[in-house]
Symmetry: C2
Amino acid sequence: MITDYLKERQAQVDRAIEQLLPAKDVRPALLHEAMRYSVLNGGKRIRPILAIAAAEALGKTAEDVIKPAVSVELYHCSTLIHDDLPCMDDDDLRRGQPTCHIQYGEANAVLAGDALMIMAFELLAEFGNAQLGLELARAAGSRGVIAGQVEDLAAEGKAPNADLVEFIHLNKTAILIQASVRMGAIAAGANEKELDRLSRFGRKIGLAFQIADDILDETSSDDVLGKPTGSDTEQHKMTYPAVHGMDAAQTRVRALTFDAIAALMDLNRDTSALKSIAEFLMNRTF
Amino acid sequence: MITDYLKERQAQVDRAIEQLLPAKDVRPALLHEAMRYSVLNGGKRIRPILAIAAAEALGKTAEDVIKPAVSVELYHCSTLIHDDLPCMDDDDLRRGQPTCHIQYGEANAVLAGDALMIMAFELLAEFGNAQLGLELARAAGSRGVIAGQVEDLAAEGKAPNADLVEFIHLNKTAILIQASVRMGAIAAGANEKELDRLSRFGRKIGLAFQIADDILDETSSDDVLGKPTGSDTEQHKMTYPAVHGMDAAQTRVRALTFDAIAALMDLNRDTSALKSIAEFLMNRTF
C-alpha cells in the first residue's frame, strides 16, 4: 500500500529532521525553537520522499540519501515561512497552526527562514557533492522558486493569463519537485538516461501537484486542508482553474500524471513507488 | 600603497559581480533590478578582498578565487537587506541610498535577500568544492551570523554586558570575516598550518572590524559613513564602547590588529597585503 510506504518514509524523514535540526536549547534558543516549530509540524514530506523514492529506484536506501532529502524539505519550509509574512501572502495559519511570524514575531520568522535556507545548503555540503548544491541553488534561486513567488505576488488581481499561470506553476512549485527527484537520483549516482527520465517525471508531477493544489483550494474545506480554503480566489491568485476552468484543470492533472509515469517506462528499474506516489498525488483530497 | 591595492581589487570584484548577477532584463526583472541595486552600490568589498588576499598569499590570483570571493559578498549583502527591514533594524538608508525595501517594497526586499543568499551557494557549488559551501553555511547559519543578529535584536535596550557584546560581535561580524579569509585560503589549496594561521588572522581582524565600526558610529558624521551616525546609541544597541568605554575600545582594536598580524609571522608566505589590510582597517575613518 502506497499510504503505508508514505507513512513510513514520512516518519523516517521526521526522525532525521528531528536529529539534524539544532536542539531547542542551543543558543539562540528562540530561533532554534522557531525553526523546529516551522518544520516539525506534521508536513507530508512529499519532496524528500520523492528524493528517497528516486534513490530507491536506483538501488539505494533512504538512509543513503537522507541529508539531500531533508535538505529539500528545509528549503521548502523556509519558503513557506517567508511566503506567509505580512508583506507577502500575509497568512496566519499553516497546517492548522499559527504561522511562524504569528508565533515568534516577524524578525524571528525572517531569520528562521534564512537559517533553514542556509542549513539546506549545509546538509548538501556535508553530503560532499557540489552538484547537489548546484541543483538546489538553481531550482531555488531568482530564476526558479523565487521567480515564481515574485510573479505570483505581482499577478494578484490581474486578469487570468495562461502563460503567466504556467510560468508561476513551473517556477513556484514544479521546479523544486523536479529538483527533489533529481537530487535523490544524483545522490544515488544516476546515469544520464536515468537522470533525464526522472527529471521529466519530476517536472510533470510537479505541475500536476500545483494544479491539484489549486483545485483543492476551491473544492476542499478548511478543516481538511488546515488552512483557509478559497483564499486563492479571495486574494485573486492566478490559478489554473481560474484561467482554464475546473474541468480542464482536472483533465490536465490526469494527463500530466500519465505523462510522468510514461517517462519512467524505458528505465530498467523498479519505479513502482514513484508511480504509486504520482497516482496518490493525483487522487489526493488534502 | 594599500589604498591602490584595495581600489584595484574592489574594481575587480565589482566587475565580477556585475557579470555574475543576472541582468536587469532577465525575468523577473524587478527582482533582478533589486538584487543589482542592493549589491552594486559602491560597497568596500572588504570580505571578498580578504578572500583574494588570502589566496594571493598562497600563490593564487584574484581570478582563481573570484567566485568564492563574490559569494561571500553576495551573502553579506543579503544579510544587510534583511537586517534593514522594518521588522528588524528598520533602516531607511544604506551607503547614502534608500534601502532595498524603501526602493522596491518589503516583499521584493525579502525575496532579493533570499535570492542573493542562494546565489552565494550557487557560486560555491559552481566552483566545485563542497568544503566551501560548508564554510559559508556554518559561518552564516543559526549558530553563526544569524545567531549574532538574533541576539543583537534581543539585546536592544538591555544593560551593557561584556559577554553578550562579545557573542554578538563574534557571530554577527567576525565569523564571516574569518570565513572570507578561510574560503580564499581553502580555494587556494591551503595546508593545515596555513589555514590555522589565516583563521586566527581572520577572527582577530573580524572582531577589530566590528569594534572599529562601533567607534565610528559614535565619532564619525552621517556624510562620511553614508548612514545615520549615533544610531547604535539611539537604538540602545549593545556596542563595545557602551560596555567598555571609548578608550578601551580603541586599545582593543589595536591589540587585535597586532595579534592578527602576529598570527601570520611563521608562515613562509608573502602576507604583506593581508597585514596592510589589517592596518588599514584599524586606521580607517569611514
